[in-house]
């Protein structure tokens, strides 16, 4: 059945979660002085995992390839930065609703426009709207131009004067991010298995048929667009807290491209895949940066290779591990020997039957 995975997926994810969760215990012993830096990195990876998951709802589940998802990530960051007072922390109780409201409204407006388009048009228009905000914050006086906006204080989490969480404490912040990734994952898992999720699957496979059945598919897509945008804005807000600033690069199209790369590395449409993808991407980048100042070349080549030989990403490897027979049919072989018979497209996604065109 769709969106149910072998038990080993659950086991692997639980083990990985546990390993990350107890990092503060084993990190210092293994990495020594580097441990603090690595925990910051881990926190960032968790934030990016949340971001990548939110995009998976659009790309992997509904089949809408957005190349402007960083718009919402950046919007979350800028909303936090601009709404925070200069000399005192903002209260989280109104900051989070504000961020969600702003991003939901933006997603509603942008979504209303882009959902009218399909396929390649959708890619181009999401990209263009993302760049619109990018150029806006880049040139506007109110958003600090290319420098961005600094955040002097992380929001406070207080109730009746008592401090519940101290977000300035790296450990607390780390666990907050971890908790949000878990909650985000459970939420998306519930969503994709709900009836609403079934409708989204239907739209992904054959939107035309869904319309013929009587579904207003654009409404469903718009709701997914908004949910996804709000989740991304939460991730962006966390990122801004982590970095201490909001910056145009957070919402540029390279950021949108990178999060798409996390999806393909991890395996889209699985929700858990993008979490792995975010970690894999960051670890790769970190490694490459140490190897050469020209690391983007290696990053680019990795993505090209992933597209060619591993279209279902790490998740695909876990769900059905490669066997000798499947390796023999892998697209890599086809790439090396273009003359050979094409492999079936099952590795990509089940072929949806095209709408009838006879007339």
């Amino acid at each position: 059945m769709l969106h149910t995975y072998p038990k080993r997926v659950v086991v692997i994810m639980l083990v990985l979660t546990a390993v990350v969760a107890v990092f503060p215990l084993w990190g210092p012993a293994v990495f020594g002085a580097q441990s603090d830096f690595l925990m910051e990195k881990l926190t960032l990876m968790l934030i990016l995992a949340l971001f990548a998951m939110s995009l998976d709802l659009l790309v992997g589940i509904v089949g809408l390839v957005s190349l402007g998802h960083a718009l919402f990530f950046g919007l979350g960051a800028y909303t936090l930065a601009l709404a925070s007072p200069d000399f005192s922390p903002a209260a989280i109780w109104w900051m989070v609703p504000l961020v969600m409201l702003v991003s939901a409204l933006a997603a509603l407006v942008v979504g209303f426009l882009v959902i009218r388009t399909r396929g390649i048009f959708f890619i181009m228009t999401t990209l263009a709207f993302g760049q619109m905000l990018y150029y806006f914050v880049n040139t506007s006086r109110h958003t600090g131009g290319t420098d961005g906006v600094f955040i002097m204080f992380r929001p406070s989490v207080e109730l009746g004067g008592a401090v519940l969480l101290d977000l300035d404490n790296p450990l607390t912040f780390f666990y907050l991010c971890l908790a949000l990734v878990v909650v985000g994952y459970l939420f998306l898992r519930w969503l994709t298995r709900s009836f609403y999720g079934q409708v989204l699957d239907g739209i992904h496979d054959n939107e035309h048929r869904m319309e013929a059945l009587g579904y207003a598919t654009s409404h469903y897509k718009l709701v997914a667009f908004v949910i996804s945008g709000v989740m991304a804005s939460i991730a962006g807000m966390l990122a801004a807290m982590q970095y201490g600033f909001a910056n145009p690069a957070q919402l540029g199209w390279h950021a949108s491209g990178e999060v798409l790369m996390m999806l393909i590395l991890g395996g889209m449409g699985t929700i858990f895949g993008p979490i792995l993808g975010a970690f894999a991407y960051e670890i790769l980048q970190h490694t490459f940066e140490h190897l050469t100042p020209h690391w983007p070349i290696l990053m680019g080549l990795t993505i090209i290779l992933a597209v060619l030989i591993l279209p279902r990403g790490i998740a695909g490897l876990i769900i059905d591990p490669p066997s000798r027979a499947r390796l023999a049919k892998s697209p890599l072989l086809r790439w090396l020997k273009p003359g050979q018979a094409a492999p079936t497209s099952e590795a990509v996604k089940p072929a949806a039957s095209a709408p009838s065109r006879e007339g």
Partner: protein
């Protein structure tokens, strides 16, 4: 704003629009016929500009540089098509986006390795270094007029090919329904290679003749790519006519936006796109 100044802006907008048309027409051709979204299209524009910068200084002559640069750019395009895109024709747009995005990273970084991160410029060739006097204190460069002329001539050639040749019929059919291209009984493989080369040649050539007019800098391909996406969305994907009028519109909008409403200039073209999407989601000429 007096009339002469207005006239200069009009010419600038037209010249920029025509340049955009060269790039956007390649983009829209590649999509219309091959069904491929090529994000590395902007990188080819950048490479065109850098090649001319490099070769002008090596060979000492701008025209010679262009002559040598065109085959180099086309060869690079062909290499990319044969190596990578070939595997992508039947795959989802997502994979095309990712692979060509990966290509951008590689090409941008190669540019840094070869030519470094500095901003360069190419002098305007002597032949067109003169200026036309419009009024006492306003002039217009010969070279810009030359660029306009070349772009218009190329647009004319493209128009003729589309109206009067068999290839044109295929291109027009592809814009309406891509499946039809395969039903026309032509060698699709050769056609694709041809279209991709022409598309790459057009955008690289645009980069070359734009070189004396702009600053040649890393990332110059990215911003022009996105502007061209806006052009294609406004005009209608696959439509050359749409690319032409879309490019002129955007060229004018950006030029006049920068003069009239500087604070919003960078957003004007996106607002136009939003308006078009609202009224005609498939583009003005689809």
């Amino acid at each position: 704003m007096d009339l002469a100044f207005f006239g200069v802006q009009l010419l600038n907008g037209l010249q920029y629009g025509l340049l955009l048309f060269l790039i956007a027409s390649g983009l829209t051709l590649i999509f219309g016929i091959m069904g491929i979204i090529n994000l590395a299209h902007g990188a080819m524009y950048m490479i065109g500009a850098y090649l001319v910068y490099d070769l002008t200084f090596r060979l000492g002559n701008f025209w010679l540089a262009i002559l040598v640069a065109i085959p180099v750019a086309v060869a690079l395009g062909l290499l990319i098509e044969r190596l990578f895109l070939d595997t992508l024709y039947k795959r989802d747009h997502l994979y095309q986006v990712l692979l060509t995005f990966g290509l951008i990273l590689v090409l941008n970084e190669m540019q840094r390795i070869i030519w470094g991160g500095d901003v360069h410029s190419v002098p305007v060739p002597e032949l067109f270094s003169g200026r036309i006097r419009l009024t006492d204190n306003l002039q217009y460069s010969h070279y810009r007029l030359f660029v306009m002329g070349v772009c218009l001539a190329l647009a004319g050639v493209i128009y003729w090919v589309i109206r009067h040749t068999r290839l044109g019929i295929i291109i027009r059919a592809g814009a309406v329904n891509r499946d039809m291209v395969e039903g026309l009984g032509i060698n699709v493989r050769t056609l694709f290679t041809l279209i991709f080369s022409v598309g790459v040649a057009l955008t690289a050539f645009a980069g070359m003749i734009a070189a004396p007019l702009t600053s040649i800098a890393p990332g110059m391909g990215d911003s022009i790519l996105i502007t061209c996406f806006v052009v294609v969305v406004i005009g209608g994907i696959g439509s050359i006519k749409g690319a032409f009028w879309g490019a002129i519109l955007i060229g004018m909008a950006e030029t006049f936006g920068a003069v009239l409403i500087p604070s919003l200039a960078s957003m004007v073209i996106y607002l136009i796109m939003a308006a078009v999407l609202l009224v005609k989601p498939r583009g003005l000429f689809a």
